[in-house]
């Protein structure tokens, strides 16, 4: 009877253990890479819309405040998207013949609202509220990035649970005074100011990571 295991299997055995280990790590690394890849997170991927609305143009070019269009952001959970009427306050007079704006005029004429494709969309089991974040001094830019440089809107954060928790663990580095919340300038981390704002806004960090805050 010939030898069932050849000599080389002596090296194959330990090698296969190492190989399995490497393969497993590669799989974990690969999955991690996929989950955090722009393909899966959609971060930085512009979403196309019927009307190619440019925040860059309207926010940094014209200096329109976020609240002119996203009226609900200070007082309700939902920031709100502008009604056709809001576009028409200006576009009834300027660029009134632009073909790009035809869907807006049509919506105004028929009363059928424009449909904007969602860019950010949390799963329904997550509770999120804009008003508390705005009231306590978290700037739009901390979560939505440089909106004023986006010709088309794109996500700038993953919106994964880990991302929420990273801030809820240490919100002070992201806090700013009330009059800067809508300003498109990065927060400069400043421990002293952060601690003072944390106290002034009476933010209690101890419960911010409880599951029931976001999963109600």
């Amino acid at each position: 009877m010939p030898q069932l295991f050849q000599r080389y299997t002596n090296t194959l055995a330990p090698a296969s253990i190492v190989a399995v280990f490497i393969a497993l790590s590669a799989a974990v690394w690969g999955m991690h890479a996929i989950i955090f890849s722009p393909y899966a997170t959609e971060v930085g991927q512009p979403v196309s819309q019927v009307v190619p609305f440019s925040h860059q143009h309207h926010v940094s070019g014209l200096g329109i405040d976020c609240r002119y269009c996203h009226t609900g952001v200070e007082t309700s959970a939902f920031a709100g998207l502008p009604a056709t009427e809001t576009c028409m306050t200006c576009h009834s007079q300027i660029w009134r013949d632009a073909p790009m704006l035809e869907p807006v005029r049509q919506s105004w004429a028929t009363g059928q609202p424009l449909h904007w494709n969602r860019v950010h969309n949390l799963p329904d089991y997550v509770y999120f509220d804009h008003s508390i974040h705005i009231q306590k001094g978290v700037g739009c830019i901390s979560c939505h990035g440089h909106v004023d440089r986006m010709p088309l809107m794109a996500k700038s954060e993953t919106l994964y649970m880990r991302w929420c928790l990273d801030c809820h663990k240490a919100p002070e580095v992201h806090l700013r005074p009330a009059n800067e919340v809508f300003v498109m300038k990065e927060t400069v981390p400043d421990e002293k100011r952060g601690a003072a704002l944390l106290r002034a806004e009476e933010i209690d960090k101890t419960h911010l990571q409880d599951c029931s805050v976001c999963h109600r």
Binding site: L62, D65, F78, T89, D124
Partner: protein, 193 residues
């Protein structure tokens, strides 16, 4: 195919199903502005039926909601005019009005510089003489080319803006001696080159 492979395939399929189903992520309710296949107009949000008033939306106080008394605009505020109110008015004015009217109310906002017909300056004698109720009316119902801002500016904020327009008007003709003494030095410093 033997039983082993079949079981393995089934198990793999089961894992896939569990991993891919996002029932909890898309529950059977509508979030704001969602589409709906239930209503013919495709919207999940419903418009108010004709001749109905939503709870808390009954606008009985004529002065507060229209700026009028017996159908005429009046120069009377339905609430005390305080510093906080004027500051609130300034904030709301800068958000909703300054794009056209300019931060100082001269009618030279950014959108006007891009071709929007220029609104009148608040400095006109006619608008100086206009009652505060007129400004509230313009915000609520619009005026000529200007659309209504009623859906975006709360009734109380309309009065705050009206108060701030008065401030803008007064500031055009105010002299240095009108400022409180402790502010004068600061103002002079700002003017000095």
């Amino acid at each position: 195919m033997n039983v082993g492979t079949a079981t393995l395939c089934l198990a793999a399929l089961a894992v896939c199903c569990v991993a891919c189903r996002r029932d909890m992520g898309h529950q059977a309710y509508h979030r704001p502005l969602d589409k709906s296949s239930f209503f013919p107009d495709g919207m999940s949000a419903r418009r108010l039926p004709a001749h109905t008033v939503a709870r808390g939306q009954l606008q009985e106080d004529e002065l507060f909601y229209t700026g009028h008394i017996d159908g005429k605009a009046v120069d009377l505020f339905p609430m005390p005019v305080t510093r906080e109110m004027i500051e609130r008015g300034q904030q709301r004015f800068d958000i909703y009005c300054a794009v056209c009217h300019g931060r100082t109310g001269q009618g030279n906002g950014m959108v006007v510089r891009r071709g929007f017909p220029a609104p009148p300056s608040y400095d006109l004698d006619r608008l100086r003489a206009a009652p505060a109720g007129h400004f509230v009316e313009v915000i609520t119902n619009g005026y000529g080319l200007m659309y209504s801002y009623a859906s975006r500016v709360e009734p109380a904020d309309r009065w705050a803006i009206a108060a701030y327009i008065r401030v803008l008007q007064i500031s055009r003709t105010a002299a240095l001696k009108d400022a409180p003494p402790d502010e004068r030095a600061k103002l002079q410093q700002e003017v000095a080159p």
